[in-house]
Subunit: 198 residues, 2 copies
């Protein structure tokens, strides 16, 4: 399984935002929606063996489970509508328990540290870092977990947590990429592994 | 210079669409907006050495010129608003001449065949094809031109034009990707060329 955690530093934690202003008043929710797109969509197909966590302001987390997802479309606006539904359901999420808002979408009051701890148990944590090893020189792990940030950089605390959990430090290329683009390149790298002729 | 042509089979050719329904009544304009994003954005940076043509229903073409672009943001909605402005300016585009609607965005009444002929003159035309050579086995060309389709497949006529112009037939990986994801992978492949240590 491929897992991704994306940290939304300004992302909404309540559903009272407008779908007409995702890049503004909704705290750059557009960037997170593009990450959902990159996690799951293929041409005429879907990556069901993927799990994505969106951490909203380190207060709560929305989990997208590829094998159970329904009603997901590629565009930002409809993805934001699914996220809004998840935020509407957060009162049903008690303690660290999750509530399912639509098929395959779950909300819980868990922060980055809790999610990272849980997701990394059966995964190889890949830290994307500009001083990392070029991805082409590495054997892709079986069950990778990638941690990415939205439009903003990691906070010092997030970077420390990630560095501590990290199994591999990797660079995807010479250019610094947006989170969703990094996810697409990571998928391609994992897809291509083992295929000398594809 | 890196060039991309993206064919929008259902894309609007008039500005009378709503920004609230890009994936519906606006003919999957969301898919084209994501291609604009993939063409130009880097983390805290911008790919100015890129030219992107969006061919709208083979009737008119919108050119995004990286070195001149202003006012472009990563989200689908604001990109669609720039496209709408271009469509509003189409009456100023006479014959094959272009009209500039916002800095770096140009509209003209040119079809795919005309654009392909012009763009390919000083470029290596790379045809992305499932039977192509794996991209990792190829030396990246200096001035590549990639031709992609939106959510739909190429028509027979488009495929024939492309096959005729094609210099290389390439496959980016074993999975079939959305156009915008293919652009991100292509950029990464070109970025990485020549960098044994990055």
């Amino acid at each position: 399984m491929r897992q991704f955690i994306v940290l939304g530093h300004d992302a909404p934690t309540t559903p009272d935002f407008s779908l007409d202003d995702l890049a503004g008043a909704a705290g750059r929710l557009d960037a997170l929606c593009r990450c959902v797109n990159s996690a799951f969509f293929l041409s005429h197909d879907f990556r069901s063996d993927v799990r994505l966590f969106l951490v909203m302001q380190d207060e709560l987390t929305i989990r997208f489970e590829g094998s159970e997802l329904r009603r997901l479309n590629p565009d930002e606006r409809s993805t934001a509508a699914l996220i809004r539904k998840a935020l509407e359901a957060k009162s049903e999420a008690i303690g660290h328990m999750e509530a399912e808002s639509t098929p395959g979408v779950f909300v819980s009051k868990r922060d980055f540290e809790t999610i990272l701890d849980e997701a990394s148990r059966r995964a190889t944590v890949v830290e994307l870092h500009e001083d990392g090893t070029p991805v082409v020189d590495l054997e892709p792990p079986e069950d990778p977990l990638f941690v990415l940030s939205d439009h903003g950089d990691f906070t010092d605390e997030e970077a420390d947590l990630l560095a501590e959990a990290s199994d591999e430090r990797v660079r995807l290329g010479p250019a610094l990429l947006h989170g969703n683009h990094a996810m697409t390149v990571a998928h391609n790298y994992l897809d291509t592994d083992g295929y000398t002729e594809y």
